[in-house]
């Protein structure tokens, strides 16, 4: 027998970079190809989505009710974020904000390690 265990928001975290960007673009209704283009533009080309990966991700997200079908345009399915999907996305955004705050706080010290080593090398030579 299949048990339909409902996943809690925390169980989705952290989202992979691809999943994060897919959910981000679906705050507006978009079809598959629209998502691909949008993700590539938003991430400045750092994240590209292959059609196999995107189709699989959308199918899973629809099954888990993170996204839903908004409408059908010919053979294209247009998806939109559900309230549950929005919750997961917001939690991920909060996580990223904490990461960013910590990153900024440590950036100066991190740079110093590199600079110190370079100075050391310079004084040696």
């Amino acid at each position: 027998m299949k048990t339909n265990k409902v996943k809690q928001t925390a169980e989705y975290l952290p989202l992979t970079e691809s999943s994060f960007y897919i959910l981000l673009t679906l705050t507006k209704p978009l079809h598959g190809y629209g998502i691909m283009q949008e993700v590539e533009a938003l991430s400045k080309g750092a994240v590209t989505l292959g059609p196999g990966t995107l189709y699989g991700a959308l199918t899973t997200m629809e099954k888990e009710k993170l996204v839903e079908l908004a409408r059908v345009e010919g053979r294209r399915k247009v998806y939109l974020l559900t309230p549950k999907g929005a919750e997961v996305l917001l939690s991920q955004i909060e996580r990223i904000e904490v990461m960013l705050k910590n990153a900024k706080a440590c950036a100066a010290d991190t740079k110093k390690i590199i600079d110190d080593r370079e100075e050391h090398h310079e004084s040696e030579s």
Binding site: T16, S18, G32, Y33, M36, T48, L49, G50, P51, G52, T53, L54, Y55, G56, A57, G74, R75, R76, K77
Partner: protein, 178 residues
């Protein structure tokens, strides 16, 4: 009318990447896959040599939203060639374009898990055919023996295929951890 050429070549279910490469080498010789089919029989159409990228995905033909599936690939510039449960796509190779249909390891793993599930389903067929055979015993012993041997051959090939696919999944999963 362009000439059609039939070729036979056998690939095991875990040799999808080898099959892609073979199809690419055929296209570079000017033989372009027209229609994939079962039992390793391929129909090609003769044409100009082309640098095609062939890619195989796996979905059983029970897939519900096939139209939407094919559309996403076509929008991304892939040509759909047909299905034997393996889904065949191709695209002309360009340096500046991404040439993979899977862009993360997770989705590659899922493809082989779908394949593995399909072979797990064969177990049912094997058990269904093994049990009634016992009752043939009294009537035609040689037939019972032949069927039994056949069943075991299928059983062992099936186990071997599943092990090979499972290994592929394990290797992919290890690459995530590294």
């Amino acid at each position: 009318m362009n000439q059609k050429v039939k070729k036979t070549k056998w690939f095991w279910p875990w040799q999808d990447q080898e099959e892609e490469k073979w199809l690419e080498s055929q296209s570079q010789k000017g033989l372009h896959l027209e229609n994939p089919s079962y039992f390793g029989i391929y129909t090609f159409i003769e044409g100009d040599p082309t640098y095609y990228q062939y890619r195989l995905d796996y979905y059983s033909d029970k897939q519900k939203d096939k139209d939407a599936y094919i559309q996403i690939f076509e929008d991304a510039g892939w040509e759909y060639l047909g299905s034997t449960s393996w889904q065949y796509f191709r695209k002309i190779f360009r340096k500046d374009e991404s040439t993979d249909i899977f862009t993360d390891t997770q989705s590659k793993v899922k493809k082989y898990e779908r394949l593995l599930n399909q072979y797990a389903g064969f177990w049912l067929i094997i058990f269904v055919t093994i049990f009634p055979i016992r009752n043939l015993d009294d009537y035609v012993p040689w037939l019972q023996l032949v069927l039994f041997l056949l069943n075991f051959a299928i059983l062992f090939i099936n186990i071997f295929i599943m092990m090979k696919i499972y290994n592929r999944i394990k290797t992919l999963k290890q690459s995530i951890k590294e």
